[in-house]
């Protein structure tokens, strides 16, 4: 299969469905030059891969919407990768051992890693910040991804089809990066935004193959973004909160999601989902929707308030945490949620076990109201 396209130009694959796209990408081969011995199969260290056409059994693209990286709960992306690539891992066997045991039959393994870089927070997607086309490194990539992925909530909603798309799209992307002549990849990698334009590697890209891979990956990234949002429960929850607060009369002058808020308020670190202003009551509201990690939610409110205060000066500000219908009753019960409870009005607090005294959680002297996600 060949594609007639130039780097950075739109590619018309002709695929009408995701399945068609999968099929097309599966047929993209990798033809290593005979002289290229940089990538050596660690399972057969003396045998260079030169001259072999390979397909990639496991590849990855991470559709990381940075606004969707909260601080609590988690999923194991490494595990998801294995599962969605058609491999069912034995849960009793550590993944690393399992990979070592099973990978011998693979032609190639392309692992991945991604990083959360503060200067990239204004990008909606961070894709494939690091590619590891050597098996041994790829294995490490999976481990690394598992660690970083642990920050992602398991209701992120990336279903199997989405992850398969992700896996395949990095195949199209990564394998060509691996193919570049030494020294030709100057800026490294490719950063994409859902808006479409690419910050392509400014390398001496003289192979149509690289362009092909990048463009296919881009197209898939768009599919991923659209589908990811449709399936993203966390995103839905946040959106429901935003909608409800908008109905209450709040506008969002500093942005409509945590990335924009962080950028516009100059906040580094944890930031809340919602910063709104209600001109009828002349009051600000900082809100965070959270599954269950109240500690992180408080930190997000505090950080965001510091950013807002630095930008706007001191003013009237309310603080709210929204939690789901499963968690909220725990806050009302005797055991609480992670040591926290709410009073009869919904204000967050905790108990000193020595004195049995109740203490409110306060941000800048203001109580924090906890409500259920609408």
């Amino acid at each position: 299969m060949t594609y007639d396209c130039a780097l950075g130009q739109p590619l018309r694959t002709g695929a009408e469905t995701l399945a068609d796209l999968y099929r097309q990408i599966r047929q993209v081969g990798l033809d290593f030059a005979a002289a290229d011995t940089r990538y050596v199969d660690p399972l057969a260290p003396t045998q260079p891969l030169g001259g072999t056409t390979l397909t990639l059994p496991v590849v990855a693209l991470l559709p990381v919407d940075l606004s969707q990286i909260p601080d609590d709960d988690s999923i194991d992306w490494g595990q998801r990768l294995l599962e969605t690539s058609g491999i069912v891992a034995d849960p009793m066997l550590p993944k690393a051992q399992w990979l070592m045991h099973n990978a011998a039959g693979w032609d190639w393994f392309l692992g991945f890693s991604y990083v959360s870089l503060s200067f990239l927070r204004d990008l909606d997607y961070l894709i494939a910040s690091a590619l590891f086309p050597v098996f041994g490194v790829g294995l490490q990539g999976v481990r690394t991804a598992g660690v970083w992925g642990s920050a992602l909530r398991d209701d992120a909603g990336y279903d199997e089809a989405i992850m398969q798309t992700a896996l395949l799209s990095l195949a199209a992307f990564g394998l060509y990066v691996a193919k570049l002549p030494p020294g030709s990849l100057r800026s490294g990698g490719s950063l994409m935004t859902p808006a479409g334009p690419l910050a392509y590697a400014t390398s001496t890209v003289n192979t149509a193959a690289l362009g092909r891979g990048l463009v296919i990956a881009t197209e898939l990234a768009h599919v991923l973004f659209a589908r990811g949002n449709q399936n993203n429960h966390g995103y839905d929850q946040e959106q429901r909160v935003r909608d409800a607060l908008t109905e209450e009369g709040y506008t969002q002058p500093y942005g409509v999601d945590d990335q924009e808020v962080a950028k516009n308020l100059g906040i580094k670190g944890k930031v809340a989902d919602f910063v709104g202003y209600n001109d009828e009551i002349d009051s600000w509201l900082i809100a965070e929707s959270k599954g269950g990690n109240i500690d992180h939610a408080i930190k997000q409110l505090e950080n965001t308030n510091a950013g807002l205060t630095n930008t706007r000066g001191v003013g009237s500000t309310e603080f709210r945490i929204y939690t789901n219908a499963d968690q909220y009753p725990k806050l009302q019960g005797p055991q609480g949620l992670a040591g926290y409870r709410v009073d009869s009005n919904g204000y967050l607090g905790w108990i000193d076990e020595f004195s049995s005294e109740w203490h409110y959680v306060e941000v800048d002297g203001v109580k924090v109201l906890v409500q259920m996600i609408p």
Binding site: D73, P94, G149, S150, D295, I298, W350, E353
Partner: protein, 95 residues
């Protein structure tokens, strides 16, 4: 009309600490299941929990000794340490 019998304050206080510790420990083990026993991810969670417990800004507030969120986190930390050791041992046994 009271729906539940009143529990004396002393008993409530006595129940609180072990309840929080057990709850934290349980959540740590739940996390291990959720993470498919991923040691690296668990170690990262452990480090974050230690950081929270040692945050100087919270030392006089919700993370001071005896504060219920701290007690919960202490249980959680102990649970994480326990589960990490457990997984390591089983992994070693598997060779």
């Amino acid at each position: 009309m009271l729906e539940y019998p009143l529990i004396p304050l002393e008993i409530k206080s006595a129940l609180l600490r072990p309840t929080l510790l057990i709850s934290g420990r349980y959540d740590a083990f739940q996390l291990a299941w959720k993470l498919d026993a991923n040691l690296e991810a668990l170690k990262k969670e452990l480090a974050e929990t230690e950081e929270l417990l040692n945050d100087p800004d919270l030392r006089d507030g919700r993370m001071k000794p005896g504060a219920s969120p701290r007690t919960y986190r202490e249980g959680y930390l102990a649970g994480l340490q326990e589960v990490i050791t457990l997984i390591r041992n089983v992994t070693n046994d598997l060779g």
